[in-house]
């Protein structure tokens, strides 16, 4: 009799143990599994390495500036500060830029012209898409219909008109000018834009992009308006 009771209890306890373990497994499942294959991990690694090298070059640049400050601080601090301000103005897009580059011309597509379709403005979404496509390249400066694109530029719809920097851009055709760091980059940009899928997106809106041959000299105007720094305040001296 006693043996029988024991065997029953053993079986029941076994079942309980199994259930508890199953519950434990279910609750404590690890996060989503890493299912990337070697190639994806390699790509991830190369992306991270690129970021690493960019950060390193930035650090060395800042170090250089710091070295200048400490080295020449005693001699001519104002000069150094002026230099830095000028560098920052260039970075912010407040100066004229000259370099090699290409010109894109956004035009109504031939079909639209032949059919006599009304020529509509370019939608802001499409323009943003194009700008993002171009911004994949480093050290790019560009203007859209004469408006310089800077970090705070807004491309948006204001009262039904597509605007850049708050200024309405003309209906197509209009030009987009892009300068890059050097001729090699320009050629790369040229081939990228020539083969880009963005043409298909433009075609849906009855527009085409004509990409000019790389030019040695292209000058972009500075950002026109007063640059407002609403949330920046001068640091008071302690």
């Amino acid at each position: 009799m006693k043996k029988r009771i024991l065997s029953r209890f053993t079986v029941i306890l076994f079942v309980i143990g199994f259930m508890v373990a199953t519950q434990y497994n279910t609750i404590n499942t690890s996060d989503t599994r890493d299912t990337r294959d070697t190639w994806e991990i390699r790509q991830e690694l190369s992306r991270e390495k690129q970021i690493h090298s960019e950060l390193l070059s930035e650090i060395s640049l800042l170090d250089e500036t710091l070295g200048k400050y400490t080295g020449e601080a005693a001699e001519d601090p104002e000069n150094i500060l002026q230099e830095t301000v000028e560098e920052l103005r260039i970075l912010a897009g407040l100066t004229e830029v000259t370099g090699s580059g290409i010109t894109l011309e956004v035009r109504p597509s031939l079909e639209a012209v032949a059919m006599g379709t009304d020529i509509m403005e370019i939608p802001p979404d499409l323009l943003i898409r194009l700008v993002n496509e171009i911004n994949r390249f480093n050290s790019i400066e560009m203007t859209i219909s004469g408006q310089r694109i800077i970090n705070t530029t807004a491309i948006r719809d204001i009262n039904g008109y597509t605007t850049v920097n708050g200024e309405r851009i003309s209906t197509p055709p209009f030009a987009i000018e892009i300068t890059t760091g050097n001729m090699e980059e320009t050629r790369k940009l040229f081939s990228h834009l020539t083969a880009s899928e963005i043409h298909d997106d433009f075609y849906i809106d009855d527009l085409t992009i004509a990409v000019s041959e790389p030019q040695e000299q292209l000058t972009l105007p500075p950002f026109g308006e007063d640059w407002s720094a609403a949330h920046l305040e001068a640091l008071e001296e302690e």
Partner: protein, 115 residues
Amino acid sequence: MWISILGLLLGISLGLLTDVQIPPEYASYLSIAVLASLDTLFGGIRAHLQQVYDDKVFVSGFFFNIVLAAGLAFLGVHLGVDLYLAAIFAFGVRLFQNIAVIRRLLLAKWTEKRG
């Protein structure tokens, strides 16, 4: 007695080693089933100590309680009422009662032995 604990350990290790998993939606059913089985287990121990243990009652109670609790939880999910709370409450209260009775019986036995 030790052999029962061995059974428990065997069950746990088998569960952990085989890494069996159920879909997370059903985890609540399993937890209620575990509670029901614990209730039956302690009920069985108490009955054994009170010398009223019945094999059939014990085994049928084990399976019936599990099915009933899971069924109640299932019904609750479909009716939008947290019926599983009823099962948790009932089993929880009974679990404590059973354990209290077991403690008293064991204490009584112990004092009898010493005295």
